[in-house]
């Protein structure tokens, strides 16, 4: 409860500060719409050339796209603005001040900032999910699973991003890790079945992007019987716990600015 209140305070302050840059927000509105249109166009290209992305109806494929956009929106909204600060704070040595605060360090590092330019992306993502969900005729249970799976997918995205960003304790300047991850989400905007087998394995076991986009869609659509989709929840929880353990482990190697 205390942490929820803290997050509220952080976000209000951060959003107020970011709203100083109104021009940026206006541009991001346009960019979000253009980007969504472009992604839809990408899916259209496949279907207009007669390829069904490995056995998906187009409405269902849009559901996958919606999840990709959702996770991506959280990258812009929360993960990028916060996790880049780990790298900056290690560079400047200001991480000390965070560790001294009577708040969980990982919590503070993860929620302190909010990138308001991500809101338009979040809105388009939710619109896409709603549209694709109703176009593929999701039953009530499907909508429920969609919601739960979306939470798990975002949690997984966060955990992987935090895990990689933590390595900046050793590598110092590693902000591009987050860029790398969000570009990998890009590659997961189509169902994994659309890709050749080696790529499918890579996206499931090496970079767990399958669990962020295709798996939630499979769960919501009820296509999950014969697949790994249910593992989403275990994978998300596992990565989250791992990110916590790794953060504590990494801090033992953090040798601050002056010590």
């Amino acid at each position: 409860m205390r942490y929820l209140r803290l997050a509220g305070i952080f976000w209000a302050a951060s959003a107020a500060a970011r709203m100083e840059y109104r021009a940026a927000f206006a541009v991001s509105l346009v960019a979000a719409v253009v980007e969504t249109a472009g992604k839809l166009f990408g899916v259209y290209l496949f279907y207009s050339n007669g390829y069904d992305l490995g056995g998906w109806r187009w409405q269902e494929a849009l559901l996958v796209l919606g999840f990709a956009q959702l996770v991506d929106a959280f990258f812009i909204l929360l993960f990028q603005p916060n996790l880049r600060r780990i790298s900056e704070m290690v560079q400047d040595g200001t991480l000390d001040f965070v560790l001294l605060k009577p708040v969980d360090g990982q919590f503070w590092m993860s929620v302190q900032q909010v990138g308001v330019v991500g809101f338009p992306y979040l809105v388009t993502a939710l619109a896409l999910l709603l549209f694709a969900g109703s176009a593929s005729g999701l039953p009530a249970g499907g909508w429920g699973l969609l919601g739960v799976a979306a939470v798990a997918a975002v949690l997984l995205g966060y955990a992987v991003a935090f895990l990689l960003a933590t390595t900046s304790i050793w590598f110092v300047k590693i902000f591009n890790v987050v860029y790398f991850l969000s570009s990998m989400i890009w590659s997961a905007q189509y169902p994994v079945q659309a890709y050749a087998r080696p790529f499918r394995l890579f996206m499931t076991f090496v970079l767990p992007v399958y669990f962020m986009t295709t798996a939630p869609a499979e769960l919501a659509l009820g296509r999950a019987q014969a697949s790994w989709a249910w593992a989403l929840f275990a994978v998300a929880l596992g990565f989250f716990l791992l990110s916590r353990a790794f953060w504590r482990f990494a801090l033992r190697y953090y040798s601050s600015a002056s010590s």
């Binding site: 253009v34 980007e35 472009g38 290209l45 207009s48 390829y51 591009n176 890790v177 570009s183």
Partner: protein
């Protein structure tokens, strides 16, 4: 002129050393650029099921060329310049008898020096994973493609720099470049070879720089479709336009700069 050459040489070596220091970051940046290979995977799977005009091998060659073309044209001048304006670092650069554009250009050029060996490594791994996908395009197409991608880099740089210059008026202008980036993503032939786009779209974007930024060098290198040399004219035209824009913005914006007691 020779004074400028000497300055550029110094700046290049300084930024090269700086970039080497942060090579881990560049590694992830290069890895983040691997996205075209996922489009490649989807399209060659489509080809394997007999749905499109090209063979899987042709897609592999095409998307590798797209990857290289994109890597050579990456720019971040908007971000650097905007940062200088916001933090006031620009003041120090204004004191030097050198247009700060040169410094940012040297920064980009030196980074290519660190990036190239990584691209060579990725090319090597790619050739191992997809035997027969990489075919020697011949000297003329190779050089023409390089010329096209150099022009594409110059144009992207000028656009990014112009956007950065807007920071004189808007505190945070870098987002505007996002628009350019997104349009380039969708209309430069990264999603699919442009020849698969609907005719109407191909015609509509023809005179914009987007279809030529990546597709022109990529068609020279991959030989998927005959390259369209008129793309050089389109790119050249827009390069001149944005050169003029950058000069105008610089002249007008400099006077407005007042950060940190300047």
């Amino acid at each position: 002129m020779s004074a400028l050459t000497a300055k550029m040489r110094t700046l290049l070596s300084v930024y090269y050393a700086y970039m080497l220091e942060y090579r881990a970051e560049i590694v992830f940046w290069v890895l983040g650029g691997l996205v075209p290979f996922f489009f490649m995977a989807a399209w060659s799977e489509a080809a394997r099921q007999g749905h499109t005009a090209y063979t899987p091998g042709e897609y592999e060659r095409y998307f590798f060329a797209v990857f290289i073309a994109r890597q050579l044209a990456i720019v971040w001048a908007n971000w650097t310049f905007s940062d200088w304006v916001r933090t006031g670092k620009l003041s120090f650069h204004l004191l030097q008898p050198l247009d700060p554009a040169w410094r940012i250009l040297a920064d980009h050029a030196a980074e290519r020096g660190v990036r190239l060996p990584m691209l060579a490594l990725i090319g090597f791994v790619f050739a191992l994973l997809f035997p027969g996908a990489l075919v020697w395009p011949g000297w003329a197409p190779l050089l023409l493609g390089l010329a096209a991608s150099t022009l594409a880099f110059l144009l992207s740089f000028l656009v990014a720099y112009s956007v950065g210059l807007l920071s004189f008026w808007f505190e945070d202008a870098t987002e505007i470049f996002e628009l350019w980036y997104v349009l380039m993503l969708f209309f430069s032939g990264m999603l699919a070879p442009l020849s698969l786009y609907p005719e109407a779209v191909q015609r509509a974007v023809y005179y914009t720089p987007f279809p030529h930024l990546v597709y022109l060098p990529a068609s020279y290198w991959s030989g998927l479709e005959p390259a369209d040399p008129r793309g050089f004219a389109v790119l050249g035209f827009w390069t001149l336009v944005f050169f003029a824009v950058a000069r105008l913005l610089w002249r007008a914006g400099r006077r407005r700069f007042s950060a940190m007691g300047a």
